[in-house]
Point group: D2
Chain length 275, copies 4
Amino acid sequence: MIIVIQCKDQVGLVAAISGVLAEQKINIISMREHVDKVENRFFMRVEIESHNNATALEAMLQKVLPPDAFIKADPTPEKKIVILVTKEYHCLGDILLRNHFQTLGAAVQCVIGNHDTLENICNRFGIAFHCISHEAKDKHAFEEELRNTINNYSFDYIVLAKFMRILSPDFVEHFPTQIINIHHSFLPAFIGANPYRKAFERGVKLIGATAHFVTNDLDEGPIIAQQIIPVNHSFTANGMMKAGKDIETAVLAKALQLVFDDRVFVYKNKTVVFE
Amino acid sequence: MIIVIQCKDQVGLVAAISGVLAEQKINIISMREHVDKVENRFFMRVEIESHNNATALEAMLQKVLPPDAFIKADPTPEKKIVILVTKEYHCLGDILLRNHFQTLGAAVQCVIGNHDTLENICNRFGIAFHCISHEAKDKHAFEEELRNTINNYSFDYIVLAKFMRILSPDFVEHFPTQIINIHHSFLPAFIGANPYRKAFERGVKLIGATAHFVTNDLDEGPIIAQQIIPVNHSFTANGMMKAGKDIETAVLAKALQLVFDDRVFVYKNKTVVFE
Amino acid sequence: MIIVIQCKDQVGLVAAISGVLAEQKINIISMREHVDKVENRFFMRVEIESHNNATALEAMLQKVLPPDAFIKADPTPEKKIVILVTKEYHCLGDILLRNHFQTLGAAVQCVIGNHDTLENICNRFGIAFHCISHEAKDKHAFEEELRNTINNYSFDYIVLAKFMRILSPDFVEHFPTQIINIHHSFLPAFIGANPYRKAFERGVKLIGATAHFVTNDLDEGPIIAQQIIPVNHSFTANGMMKAGKDIETAVLAKALQLVFDDRVFVYKNKTVVFE
Amino acid sequence: MIIVIQCKDQVGLVAAISGVLAEQKINIISMREHVDKVENRFFMRVEIESHNNATALEAMLQKVLPPDAFIKADPTPEKKIVILVTKEYHCLGDILLRNHFQTLGAAVQCVIGNHDTLENICNRFGIAFHCISHEAKDKHAFEEELRNTINNYSFDYIVLAKFMRILSPDFVEHFPTQIINIHHSFLPAFIGANPYRKAFERGVKLIGATAHFVTNDLDEGPIIAQQIIPVNHSFTANGMMKAGKDIETAVLAKALQLVFDDRVFVYKNKTVVFE
């Protein structure tokens, strides 16, 4: 079982928490703790051997922690996700494979595309696909359709697996710290559209990808994971885009694994990631 | 011996060049060639076993190449450099060590600092150090002093080894494609001052360094080499700066080695690097 | 069109080859050349804009090259492959996805498993699956069945995508430089069985994967690509195995792309890879 | 102040330790904990804001921990080291630079070489150099001389910075978990002599370096840090050796920093490293 705790920092928190666990004769498998000194914020992830009553444990912990502490003891770790896509298959394909072989750490509820390009691959894996075109309607109407379809499902996270429409602040607001995006550059370099074209023109020697939570500020949300690969003069902009797809897939896969394992904490515009 | 060639692309260049070498019974050890299709530009680096007359060889190659071709057959590959520093020792120290043990591929002529912090380490290696303060004078006067001192030496490149003053376009113009800088971020992320502070605030998961030629546009010159290291929530801004120093040292060392081995070509705002 | 050439080294080879191309007014897009000085062996890969008669071009090149030169001008670059698997899905899944979306650079002809675990995923992609069990028969009989099934297909390469049976020298001999394997360690570390268990016991700080051609010497064939990821004390042997799967998938994908793009040359027990 | 603890695992250790700290109103800056389930062993590193009496704190902790627990509360974190070298300068040079600018986290007491090649660089940094030749004497006599010289100094660690003599079990026994070596391959690949030659002959695509504690089994001691760099067919054995030097320097520097920061625990033949 995993316990995650986030609250204002104060002296004695570790003693208080581990005291509760010791009292219950709970064996700690691993414990990670971080204090953000700038924000005076305490983060902890504890992996324990097991406990038969998560709610009771949460209540016991609540008693020794500050009143506004966030505490979650999670006996059912599998998350549920909804995926949004456009036309590119690489991130979706990887997620569907892991989902199919039950190594994703989450269960894909459905896939929504603003094009129908990826309907076929979803069908092959027996995953529901909804095509919601953005064409011939305004953004507001498009996003309302999206929301209605999404809300037909029970889910923990919305994964933008190369979804190429910019979501409005209004939409994002409905799902705070629930939308995860893969951006095709090592942010904050090349914010916005066409990062590979910009990377090519700037002549950089490495390109990358960034998985982050989506907030109202485009490409400015809390970063979960980033990775890069070397490129050189022999890469065209298209070659960079092609090479970048593998790193996008890898970074999104890694970020999802971290999130689904309850290893990622968000506070303001940053993450704490206990790898 | 190394031969480097840069010119407008046209059909038959490789045949013409290798024909001249074959006629002279010159054995090619390695040959790297690149055509920039966007710019219609041809770049070649040939390593040959030896030849007793570089000037004659250049003339023979000139005959079969476009009139404006840049050709250099270099029998004396050791370069000469002047180094500019401020207070940080890590890049300078690494260069002085390599210079001392003759593995730098260049000979350090002198070090110029706008502070005297690094005079002692230069003395220990027997390298001339000139302190030219930027204080109590305007930028123009400061740069004129710099230029006068630099020009007392014979040199191929000026290396900014953590030189923390911004050079004016006027200064840079005097040394086109001769000034090499190490910037403490993976450009174009965090252009300008305090990149580690900005990286900390943005919550990135990797920091980096970029070695580039200096042009009139600050931090926008042709990139030679870039590298990154992973960071996480446990790094303070100072911790990032400390961790970054090692990668700065490594990237500058690599870029210098590439340049001194005649592996780097510049055209417009990009480099071709034959690693 | 791609032209690949391998032969004994001698003075003037580049001139001879590029002379033929220039005579035909063929534009060279890129040219990579390597001379193995120890073996006195010449390797070249040329990408040209196009030519309407590959056979004629090969004949012209043959005239200016040593009689035993290997020359291939390939107007139909898509390769055909047969895949052998056991139970693990990750490498196969990645290949099937790329095959399905036509980004593999090869066409999967069939999949053969010594278990039927992966039949379902092949069916979902419409790829023929043959189950050939190794049980209740001797190695010779098993491999004859394999060979008979394989030889029903036209193919360029056999890919061992986590095929967990050791193939006999007799089998391997039938397919020289045609069998590509992914080994779950950075060879030559941890040769043989259970590399993750061995890595765990040794306490290494990095684990890796190696894609190589299969020869008679187990795990000793020419290496195509290798990659590593960091691990630490918190990894169990199983955790290493799980983390290793992603790197196995990535390394095999990269090796296949290099091979299918005709970038890999084999001579004796080594490869020349023009990335 | 740093506190490190190592002991047999049991329920309630974290609570007991953090209870003592909370009682003393000590603020925990960061805490890292690991339980080796196979060995049933508990490791902890705590960074606290400060405490005026380390010995008293150790005693308080001792009371709540198993009797054989190893506990160290260290108010004077700077370590002292003795360095052994042969002829290669790169690792020594890097250490001397960091030592000189007080960023090493340790103080170099002296350098001992079995050749006098590196005497000059030590002199330049004002560090005592002792030349103890291995020639014209047996191993026992050589090592006795070494030991006598080493023991003239007060030190925490002996660093083998490319010391090319194999130390006898007898010598090693005198300094358990005190000798740190840099080996020029990613162990356990290419154990023993000439790893670059072996790597070249095997045709690997990556080479590496390993920093480890020295035990009686040659190249088999607990690994502290490892890193690799990519190589390819264009590298000669000498080219690999040259490229390898930079990674050797980097890995040793990283390992030393980890050890000097009390982040490395040794148990049996493995390390726990809290990066």
